[in-house]
Amino acid sequence: MPTPRVSRFARLRAATDRVPTKWFATIGTVLFLAATAAFGGLADVPAEAKALEQLAAGETHTSPQLAITVERAVLIDSLSGTGAFPDDEKGERLLVLLVEMENLWDRPLATFGSEGVQRAVLLEGDARAADGIVREDDQTFTPWLQPGVPAVLAFSWVVPGGAYADEQPLRVVLSDATLYQAQLLSSRESWVDPAPAAVVTIPVDDVGAGAQS
């Protein structure tokens, strides 16, 4: 008696039925974990702890984009023309950093906005960009930085009254951005991803109410 003719499809089916499909998920998971482990595991790869440059007032930090010199830190009740408005009823005051900046790139840089350099100068422990950035000499609000022309800027933050005190050392974090060149549909270049590169320790000078002008 010849064996009953079985279609190829049925035979394939019989073969695949013997494959333990329930294990597929397990096998896949194990493979994924093994591959992950080979590349360092699921835990965060600890960022390479880069020693931040330690600077004092008046010392210059240079990146490919900017040369930054934090010159003075002043605590004041309020100051017109800074673009930052403390509410004295809430006891707020103003922390003003005088920073000399030189644009080392080949074209103008904005001081504020999505591609502005405002994140290059931050207070340690305070993620906020400055509330106001103006030129110290003529109070131009969020000025352009022309290449090769240094300018002294006033970075001003509205801070709670007791947050900073006279003579207290203030730590200012300077960040370097990375030049990014768009690849698709555009070749525009911009400075992105500021990362801390230096810390300036500078004493705070509390000038009280300040000169009213």
Binding site: R107, D138, P147, V149
Partner: protein, 198 residues
């Protein structure tokens, strides 16, 4: 025989196509490249909507402007008349650059801090009715040498930060300069934006 002729024709067409491809300009960039209008001092230069007549260009040690603004430093001051040809919206000098050897300087917005008529940058221009004014460029003190290119254009909305973007898709009025040949003055006062005297 017919087969051979077909092949010959095909090869000829391919060769012709190669010539066509070689003669075609690199299209991607040209689609957005600005077209340039070369200006001369004292003569009108007309772009697609913006028109200027550059009167005088000087290098000044320190400048002042209406509204009491003044600044130290090295400046290139361009006095010019400007008007529009087709439309007043938009109708303004939105961006102006001084292209140095390795750096591009944008026309300064600083004089406008105290008076919006202190420079003609961003001033509303009018069809066929010229206004006079100044553009001021703050340049590094050591940059007053060699050649430079003055560029004046309407604003296409991209902002002054990236010259390759802000000049796209329109006309650019250009004037080549020799910086060391420019007259040098001190404390130049910018021309407040105003109607040209008839």
């Amino acid at each position: 025989m017919r087969g051979l002729r077909g092949w010959l024709l095909g090869v000829l067409l391919l060769i012709a196509a190669w010539f066509v491809a070689a003669a075609t300009p690199d299209g991607e960039a040209l689609m957005t490249d600005p077209f340039t209008v070369t200006a001369a001092v004292g003569a009108p230069a007309v772009g697609d909507n913006l028109a200027v007549n550059i009167r005088e260009i000087v290098v000044s040690d320190g400048v002042s402007a209406s509204g009491g603004w003044q600044a130290t430093g090295t400046w290139v001051v361009v006095d010019l008349d400007a008007w529009t040809v087709r439309t007043e919206s938009p109708g303004r000098i939105g961006v102006a650059y001084l292209v140095l050897a390795h750096r591009t300087i944008a026309a300064s917005e600083r004089p406008l801090t105290h008076d919006s008529a202190a420079t003609i940058l961003d001033a509303r221009l009018h069809v066929d009715v010229p206004q006079k004014g100044s553009l001021a460029f703050e340049i590094p003190a050591d940059a007053v040498r060699g050649t430079a290119m003055l560029q004046i254009a309407q604003d296409n909305g991209a902002g002054a930060g990236d010259p390759t973007l802000s000049l796209e898709g329109g006309s650019v009025i250009e004037l080549p300069l020799s910086l060391s040949d420019l007259p040098t003055v001190s404390g130049r006062a910018l021309t407040p934006t105003d109607w040209v005297d008839p």
